[in-house]
Symmetry: C2
Subunit: 206 residues, 2 copies
């Protein structure tokens, strides 16, 4: 099975702009990519990174300046092998969560992301193509059905959390101990209670 | 097994105040409670509602004006039976997600909520007590370990989504077809794309 990890190397994690400047966003995105690749390699896979620009990581990397959708579809068109696509910001990924993506026997397996996205796909149907715009989870369900593929959905908190909004950092600090969490801690981020709710703060801010 | 569904009947869903006035928040909270009770009953359980005030629902209801923590702990103290506690705003609950809470053989089973909360607990250890303040998921892990209980965590997107912030309504419109979704649709809420991201809007607003 081919496992793709698309990566935006141009302006990564732009929604974290209120908390992180650009070099920090690059470093944090790299750390999350490292965590995702570590889990994939640890589970015996050989992930391929498809990046919009140069990236320093431990996996073979293909440069592709196009958007996510054509990048992934060009691989789906070129191969008859099963393909899995995992987002590079799944900082909460574990081998157990990954295994659940591969459990169902359906031809298309989808892991919904918070807010309507699709955080992971496993595809072994020749006609299925992706479209990551808008409510892609719902669209992918419809696309799979309309091309006659059997479909399953993975109900995973860890696969649903893509880390791109400031409040998502709470989940990284609470539920992981990988490179992304270490990066946040080194950068001075901590959990604090505000109105009895955990919030990420940076007391020793720049 | 006793299954508790605590319910705030006084000022439900206050964080939805930007979108819903008070009578609407009451009606929407009632609809979510109905969905949760329907799944529990459908799975063959007899849920008990513990409410801070009168509530019209199809389950036996105990009035308890105290906060969530003492309410739940008084039940844990009074019984030797296994106890499960599910939040009343788990609008994405399904029988499959519920079954995963009962799968592990551990004495304490926790389902983390987004933002550090604990959305569901199944307990069959006599010394375990809850504390829902702050980062309760982490605290509950520590409490279970410190009283010598075996612990398991359920990795479920559906159990992780408690519906209390405006952006959570997106998940209800996308991933359910129960009473809560019907209420939102009847109240005029729709999904729209804003900057290519699904957002809940109410075009025919009051």
């Amino acid at each position: 099975m081919r496992i793709l990890v698309p990566f935006d190397a141009r302006d990564p994690k732009s929604r974290l702009d209120p908390l992180l400047d650009r070099p920090e966003r690059v470093a944090f995105a790299d750390a999350m990519l490292e965590d995702v690749l570590d889990v994939l390699s640890g589970a015996g896979h050989d992930p391929e990174v498809h990046a919009t620009g140069p990236v320093d990581c431990g996996a073979p990397t293909t440069l592709d300046e196009r958007e996510l959708t054509p990048t992934v579809n060009s691989v789906l068109e070129a191969t008859d092998d099963p393909v899995a696509v995992l987002m590079a910001d799944l900082a909460l990924l574990t081998e157990e969560a990954l295994a659940r993506l591969f459990e169902p026997t359906a031809e298309v397996v989808l892991a919904p992301g918070l807010g309507g996205g699709t955080n992971a796909i496993r595809c072994r149907h020749p006609a299925f193509r992706v479209d990551y715009h808008g409510t892609s989870y719902r669209d992918h369900l419809e696309r799979a059905r309309s091309c006659g593929a059997s479909v399953a959905t993975v109900d995973s908190f860890r696969l649903s959390c893509d880390i791109d909004r400031p409040e998502d950092l709470t989940e990284v600090l609470l539920h992981t101990d990988g490179a992304a969490r270490a990066w946040l801690r080194d950068a001075g981020f901590e959990l604090h209670l505000r109105n009895d709710r955990p919030t990420v703060t940076r007391p020793s801010s720049r």
